[in-house]
Amino acid sequence: MANENYDAIVVGSGISGGWAAKELTEKGLTVLLLERGHNIEHAKDYVNAHKHPWDYPHRGGRTYAMEEAYPVLRRDYPLNEKNVSWWVDEKESPYTEVKRFDWYRGYHVGGRSLLWGRQSYRWSDFDFEANAREGIAVDWPIRYAEIAPWYDYVERHAGISGSIEGLAQLPDGQFQPAMPLNCGEELVAGRVRGLFDGRRRIIPGRVANLTQPLPGRAPCQYRNACSLGCPYGAYFSTQSSTLPAAMATGRLTLKPFSIATEILYDRDRQRATGVRVLDAVSEQTTEYTARVVFVCASTLNSTWLLMRSATDVWPEGLGSSSGELGHNLMDHHFRAGAEGFLVDEQLSGQYYYGNRPTGFYIPRYRNIGGERREYMRGFGYQGSASRRGWQRAVRELGIGGAFKDRAAEPGEWQIGATAFGEILPRHGNQITLDPAKKDKWGLPVLAIDCETGENERLMREDMKNDLAELLEAAGVRSVTTYDRGYAMGMGIHEMGTARMGNDPRTSVLNRWNQVWDAPNVFVTDGSCMVSSSCVNPSLTYMALTARAVDYAVGELSRRNL
């Protein structure tokens, strides 16, 4: 059994792990970055990035054989022939669904940072104070003022484009110029401005795509092909942003195909001593030692690792002394909203140019400013307006040359959006080890037992009807509402299972993301979340990770770890 020593080990190379590696190495530490899956080299391994639609035999669709191989992935958009190798092999890595839970995983260097939707929003004190105000779960141990400078810090490096809006519930940040609303969206945004007491606003989506260059990265080329990997480095990913920064220090060692099976724990010192790693290919085991461990393996995987660690002290794993490890799993519920047609003489003579990789955003307005709906928390909308394409001709009467040429022209303007709603933390929404099922490497898999509740059901009514009301008030025609169904996990915003808190009896992590029972173990990905807000969470993981590294390195120098 080989032994290797580093100052720090980071488990997972996605959004959070990439940030941990960058910050730790830049502060002078030698870092081992562990990734369970294969490597994907920036640009070079984006093998489909320059393909055309017609280069795919099924034009980007999915085959029967793919559906058989990916029983979970097939439940929503992720399964397609363009980037299927960037999603987990479900046969190698099964899990148990006590209730349906859609778990979309990216097991490779960069993780889901290569695949994410890139929407980037700050949380506000409406979010950080919500649990305490409403008596839900436990209070967040931090407030907006403490994380705001870290949002500033990560936004500058990641590159977030967005507009300054002055909204308390959606704080402004260090933005590059926004990707503007198109003319159809601007028309509706303008009409809405004077309605609903100005509380419902249509603003440009804030997105981790550059509109100005950053070192080593070009601005967005408006192909909207992000999910193939961006050869220009125009959107934030581990590969485009944090990994090159960490590599540049000369202090980073990246090891793909390295499954962290256990955090090594010294019960006398009450400290982690390192990580046991299983080589996914050779199946050899190696123990790496370090002074500090950052667990950034993604929400469920980080908790899965904690559950396998220090079981000689706590049978249910490191961090389980609180009784909360594995509990309070959350996501965002969505796929409910409204859509309709924009009929306007001026617009019929207008179009747009370029494929913008974002759309509009309507920030949360429910249950703030004194309003009390029959549910708690709120939702925001993400959508777009566009001229319809040839697809509309499927349902139109006609064949022949005139039909063909008409189908090749842009059609009427349409506008639509889906809400993304907050899901409350509930102790009963939990993951456990399933001793009866093992993955390819012999590890007992996770069993996920999780469901939405009455609060989400009530909120969904507003998610549909509010947007219909807004669109109709703005003169949009033939407005229809929809609810296309939601199952936990579909939002791919899984959060919780190792929450932060002020009390080791009710939380797994303290205010600095340290495991209460092992202060040199930091968990900074979505596992740490105490509530879910309604905004996309990744930017907050970046800020929490940078903040935790700053604290950890200070504690190391003070010899407290």
Binding site: W54, R74, K82, Y222, S348, W390, L397, G400, K404
Partner: protein, 201 residues
């Protein structure tokens, strides 16, 4: 593709078969009932679905729906082979039967209406037949429950449109395709007759 509504089109899943619906801009990929049931994949047949000459027949049908105009038509874009591939690789066995039987029905209808099979019919006869089948399919698809068992001509038509407008000819000649737009302009003037932008990916 993202999970947000940025690329959505106002087609619903009712207008397309499951695995094709996303490509047609529908917001969901799976049928609602299957979705709730956890989406079991039915057994599929491995039999060769198409006989010799079927691709040529599909080419001619597709080319009648989308013929040469100022831009090349569906046959030049290889749509017949695309349809056969999609039915073979992406349809479930029930959908495959529906399609293959539908192709036979189309031939029967051609003999009844035009006194001969589709390949033997004149261009005018082909147009007259497909115009009738198109009207029939549109009527049929308005019926409640039709989504679960779509009219065969709807399937032919949607695969023809999909195959054509995502082909190189369909993207670069019938529409306007810019591989690297380089910028975003929120408003540009549009004159009736200008072609649509073809999506990149």
């Amino acid at each position: 593709m993202t999970k947000t509504a940025f690329k959505h089109d106002l087609l619903t899943r009712r207008e397309a078969i499951r695995r094709v619906s996303a490509l047609l801009g529908g917001a969901t990929l799976v049928g609602q009932s299957a979705w709730l049931a956890g989406c079991a994949v039915p057994q599929r047949s491995s039999a060769n679905l198409f006989a010799d000459g079927d691709v040529a027949l599909l080419d001619e049908i597709a080319d009648t729906i989308l013929p040469d105009t100022k831009t090349p038509g569906a046959k030049a874009a290889g749509v017949g082979a695309f349809i056969a591939l999609m039915v073979t690789d992406t349809y479930d066995p029930g959908e495959q039967r529906l399609f293959v039987n539908g192709l036979a029905t189309l031939e029967d209808e051609s003999r009844a209406q035009n006194g001969g099979g589709f390949m033997a019919s004149s261009p005018a006869q082909r147009v007259a037949l497909l115009e009738r089948l198109d009207r029939e399919a549109i009527e049929y698809m308005r019926r409640p429950g039709a989504e679960g068992r779509p009219h065969y001509f709807r399937l032919i038509k949607e695969l023809t449109l999909l195959g054509y407008f995502t082909s190189e000819i369909g993207c670069t000649l019938a529409q306007r395709y810019t591989e690297v737009p380089g910028r975003f302009e929120p408003t540009v003037a549009y004159t009736a007759g200008d072609k649509a932008w073809a999506a990149h990916a």
